[in-house]
Structures are given as structure tokens and as C-alpha cells.
């Protein structure tokens, strides 16, 4: 579904990704771990098309109509409509735009891209009701402005709700666990586990083993200085937890 080949990317003239390779198949959960500044968040932004990053070499192949397609020149919204979702580490506030309106506009633009009729307000409300069972939010959530005045936990929950609504094929969760207390972490993880299926893939970006106690990955990759330096199974996370990145990288 996703194959990244020798990806090099820079921001403000500084090379961040230095020849990264990664292959993700449907149904898999990958965790990408690494010390601060190793390029984890940059990777998520480059995959989803953040305009500050320039790809200088390599390819990001993503299945579009069952054929791998290099997406590096696609706009972020086009990538989203093809089924790539990024859960932000710092979700952005959009004051004055209600969550309901935002979710519906977003969902309908994906539907339209797929050639389907957009849902009416009532239809969408019904659809959304089911999705909101996956992750619980305050009752007045839908009428409030997108992320505006939300606590850190609420923002992260909102990201997972958006993920549930858009039903992407590839979800990248950028440090979704950061800033969450243990209860919120459970709620968020359970949400992700419910969305998880054999047809979609998830890439978790995280510093800590903690998240991986709740969402069990199939593969763990260690990112260091813009490259993946080691790949292994879940046991790799435990090893990292025990020895720290320093111990591991020596």
C-alpha cells in the first residue's frame, strides 16, 4: 500500500530525511520510534504533503486505484482524498467553524472525490452518531469550534474521531500519546483498535513504549538521523525501553 524508497527531504535548506525506506501493507501496524530530532514528525509531514518540506530524492509510492503511484507532487488534500490521514501532534484550532460542519465538509469532499453523492445533513448526522460511539466526546462537542479551547486530550480524541469518520486506508499518528494522561490514552488507543482492520494500515510515531502496550504493532522501526537503522518485532520496543536510545545506538 505504501512504499517509501530512498526518500530524502529538506526543510529550510536542511536535510532531515536522508534516504529512508519503508514498506507498509494493508492490515499492518508499524511503530516508528527514535530520539528527538531523528526526523519522525518530519516523515509524517512529508508523507502527507506539508508545503514546508521539499523532497529532493526518492519516491513515496501509494496505491491509487490499485496501482502504486508516486505521490510526492500531489497536494495535501489530494493525498487525503486518496486515503492518507495524519493525526497531528499539535492539532490546529479553527475558531468559528463547528466540528460538525468541519467533519461533514471533510467527509463529503472525500465522497465526492470517490464519485459518490455527498451525504445530506441528516444522513451525515446518522453516520457520525455511529462513529462517535468509537470515541466519546463532550455532548456539546459538535457545536463547538474545531479544537478551539479544547484541552490537549480533547484535541487528540478529536483527531481519532476524524480518523474514524474519514476511514482512511493509511493513518499516521504523530505522537498521539504525547500529553495524554493514562485514562485518555486508553480511550484513544481503544478508538484506534476499533478502527484497525485488515484493509487499513496504521503508522504510529512515538517516543515511548507506553502507547504500544495498548496498540500492538506488527513492526517496530528505529529512526535515527533521517534513516531507519533497525526494524524488528514488538520485542524491539522493550529493548529500547530498557537500554534507551543511547544504549541501543552505540
Amino acid at each position: 500500500m505504501l512504499e517509501i524508497k530512498n526518500l530524502k527531504a529538506e526543510v529550510d535548506g536542511k536535510e532531515i530525511l536522508k534516504g529512508l525506506n519503508l514498506k507498509v501493507n494493508p492490515g499492518e501496524v508499524h511503530a516508528i520510534m527514535g530520539p528527538n530530532g531523528s526526523g519522525k514528525s518530519s516523515l509524517s509531514k512529508v508523507i502527507s504533503g506539508h508545503p514546508s518540506y521539499t523532497v529532493t530524492d526518492g519516491e513515496i509510492l501509494f496505491d491509487v486505484n490499485f496501482e502504486p503511484k508516486n505521490i510526492i507532487h500531489m497536494e495535501p488534500d489530494e493525498r487525503a482524498k486518496e486515503g492518507i490521514f495524519l493525526a497531528f501532534q499539535y492539532p490546529v484550532e479553527v475558531p468559528g467553524v463547528s466540528n460538525f460542519n468541519f467533519l461533514m465538509t471533510s467527509f463529503n469532499s472525500v465522497l465526492e472525490h470517490q464519485g459518490s453523492e455527498p451525504l445530506t445533513e441528516d444522513e451525515f448526522r446518522n453516520y457520525l452518531k455511529k462513529k462517535m460511539e468509537i470515541i466519546s466526546l463532550r455532548p456539546d462537542f459538535l457545536e463547538r469550534g474545531v479544537n478551539s479551547g479544547f484541552s490537549g486530550g480533547e484535541k487528540k480524541k478529536n483527531e481519532i474521531l476524524q480518523m474514524a469518520v474519514l476511514a482512511p486506508r493509511l493513518s499516521i499518528l504523530d505522537e498521539t500519546d504525547s500529553g495524554l494522561d493514562i485514562d485518555a490514552l486508553k480511550v484513544v488507543s481503544e478508538g484506534v483498535n476499533k478502527i484497525r482492520s485488515k484493509n487499513n494500515a496504521i503508522v504510529l510515531i512515538t517516543h515511548y513504549q507506553r502507547l504500544l502496550d495498548y496498540i500492538k504493532p506488527d513492526f517496530i522501526h528505529v529512526l535515527y538521523q533521517g534513516r531507519i537503522v533497525k526494524t524488528g518485532g514488538p520485542e524491539l520496543a522493550l529493548e529500547l525501553e530498557k537500554n534507551g536510545y543511547d544504549g541501543f545506538l552505540q
Partner: protein, 481 residues
Amino acid sequence: MDNKKTSPLQDDYNYKYGFETNIEVDAVQKGLNEEIIRLISSKKEEPEWMLEYRLKAFRHWQTMVEPKWSGLKYPEINFQDIRYYSAPKKKADGPKSLDELDPELIKTFEKLGIPLTEQKRISGVAMDVVFDSVSVATTHKEELDKVGVVFCSISEAIKTHPELVKKYLGSVVPYADNFYAALNAAVFTDGSFCYIPKGVRCPIDLSTYFRINAKDTGQFERTLLVADEGSFVNYLEGCTAPQRDENQLHAAVVELIALENAEIKYSTVQNWYTGDKEGRGGIYNFVTKRGKCAGKRSKISWTQVESGSAITWKYPSVILLGDESEGSFYSVALTHDYMQADTGTKMIHIGKNTKSTIISKGISTDKSSNAYRGQVKIMPSAQNARNYSQCDSMLVGAQSSAHTYPYIDVKNKTAHIEHEATTSRISEDQIFYLQSRGLNMEKSISMLVNGFCKDVFKQLPLEFSVEAVKLIEMKLENSVG
């Protein structure tokens, strides 16, 4: 949805109202002097007192100079090079009903989305339509007659309701008020008049649509709206003009009077021609709008969406004279290309326990400049006055500018005043966030801007609010796309 290639909004500047109507007109020669004023007054078959009023205003105007304090930049206006009267020629006996109007006029307004003919007109909204210097049609008269609401052109009101016009004309904006108000008082040619009798809740919304058509002609309309005790009216105003290379002057005066327990809601969507990408042409919109909450517990609310004109100089204000009266001002001003807007309000608290609310949202894009200028004045008599002001500016792109000039003048210690102001720039991260949820660039920006303006849009009547959102989206597509 926002497909660039098929969007009709992408064309050239795309001011879809920029066409001109070829119609026979009755016009006076260019220039301004007592003779012209007498001529206008006689064309309109006005009574002597009206002519006297005009001449007094004109003589006063001659002693005045154009205000320069706003910092708006424009070449000197030659007031002798403007035509002060132009009207579509009437048939000898005049049209007896709307259906007898010149078909060209009907077509023009249909193109503007304003059907005038009986069978097609908009239900639920009565309209007075002003074309250049005269009112050409007023709809829904019978329905209004039933409840005693007077809604007609001001020229007609001068003849049919002289006592009301005499009593209230100039009572809120005296001719000596400012340069443009004096000019308007001298040469105003038409506009709407409305009187809501005691205790009447106007059953339909009233609306005036202004259209400038003729070349080199200024439009000087005058609107007078009186809401008698315990009455209510919702008033809407829209305007457009053809696309021309020369600047055209629009200097209107609107006066609102709310007596005890009366409420007036006045909404404007201003979409005069803005000039082209290089800043050529466009309307100079120098307007004085003011309401007086004359009676106890009266309310006046101004809501405006200012998205047109090369230059806007406009401060819809409220004089809070009656105790416990309330004034509000909700404004969205969008400027693009080389537009300049200097707009805001004045809230003058005189009565006790008076309350005012100001919500202003300015959006500047391209090389435009957008200023909020507002005054909150608490007079010594205004015990326990309250004001809340919120002035937010949003910059799109790096070359635009936003300014906020709040003037607060408090002469009573019991006043309670809150002022909040913010300036923000649409950030790359906000756009990226929305894009990563499948919204394209234009849609993302318009969603951000609509969110920014929401507090104002929600004050507009529903159809107007839909129109306003579309208008802002269209202008932004041209600017940001």
C-alpha cells in the same frame, strides 16, 4: 466543488454586476451650483421648504473642506465634474404599475437577481429599487398598506408625508454634520423612506437596492427610517454598479430613528465595483449612517458586509439617547487588490443604562488596507453605560495591512467598557490542517475566513447571510487562488 476551470468566478475580475444598461435618461449637465440644485428640486416637483433645505445645505457645504483625517489615499475629487442627476426617462404619463416599467430596467434588475415584476418578485421582502438618481419601483405596497407601514421613495414621501419628512430629515444627521452629509443634503436625488406605525411589527422585511448605472454620475441617496413606539422592522440594503475605469462617487446618508421600545435592524451587503487589479476605477463610497435610539428601551443594530468599493469611508453609528436603549454594530470588511476601507462606528451613550456592542472583523488581502475606526463616548448623563467592543483583523498574504483605531471617551465613572482586539494571519499550518482533511486550498481559506466572520454573519437574515458567505468566498478565490 471548487473546480477552478469550471468556476464562473475565476474569469477576469469577475464582478458579475459590471454591465451597463442602455436606457434613455433624463440628466442634468455636470457641475454643482444653486442653479443645478433648483433644477433637481424642480424636476422632482418638490415643495419650497425642501428646496430651501437643499440650498442651506449647499451654502454650508461651500464653506467646508473634505475631511482628511482618515488617511485614505485618492486623487482630489473635482465636484464640478460630476453629474448630480440622471434618471431613466419616463413615459409621458408614467408607469402605473411595476409591470409598465421600461423592459430594459426590468431586465437589468433581473440580471442582478432582483425581479421587479409582480409575478416574479421575491416573496417576504418588500423592495424599493433606486436606479442612479431615482427610485424606480417599490414592491408589496398593498401588503404594507394594510398595517399602515409607509414604504416608498423619499421623493414620494416628501409629497405624501411632508410632516414626517420635515420632522425627521436631518434630525440625526444634520446637513452641517460633515462634508459629504452636507453635499448629500444639497443634491440627494432619491432613496427610501419608511415609517412603521406604533406597535406594528413590520410583517415583511424591507429592502432597498441601489444601482449606479450612468457614467460620470454620482449617486446621492437618502434613506430615512422611522420606527414609532413599540414597532419593529428588519431592513436590508444591497448595491452594485457597472465596471468602469473612472471612479464614481457615492455619498449617501441614512438616518434611523427608533422611538420608545422600537427596534430597527439594518443590514447592508455592499458590493459596489471595487476597481480592477491595478486599482483603476471603482466607487468612492463616502457614507454617513447614523441611528438615534430616541426612546426608552429602543434598539438599533447595524450589520454590514463591506466587500466592494475602491474606497469605503463609513461609520454607521448609534446615538443612545433613551434610557436603557441598545446599539450594536456588526461588521465584516473585506479588502483586496488596491482597495482601502476605513470603517467602524460611533456609539454615543447619553441615556442611563445604555448598552452598546461592537463586533468588527476586517480581512485584508493583496495590497489592500483595512482600518477599523470606532468611538465609544460615554456622556456625563449616561449612568451605568456598558460597551463591549471586539475588533479582529485577519491578514491574508504579506502585502496587506490592517489598522485599528479605537477612541474611547468616558465622562461618567460608572461606565463599564471592554475592548478586545486581535490581529492574525492565516497560517500555513491552519491551511495544511484543513487540506490534510481533504479540503482544497480555496475551500480551506474560505472556511477559515467564514469561521472568523461567524459572529457577524449570524446577525444577518438567512438569505443575506448565504449571499454574504458566497460573496466573501468569491472574492477570496480571486485573491488567494
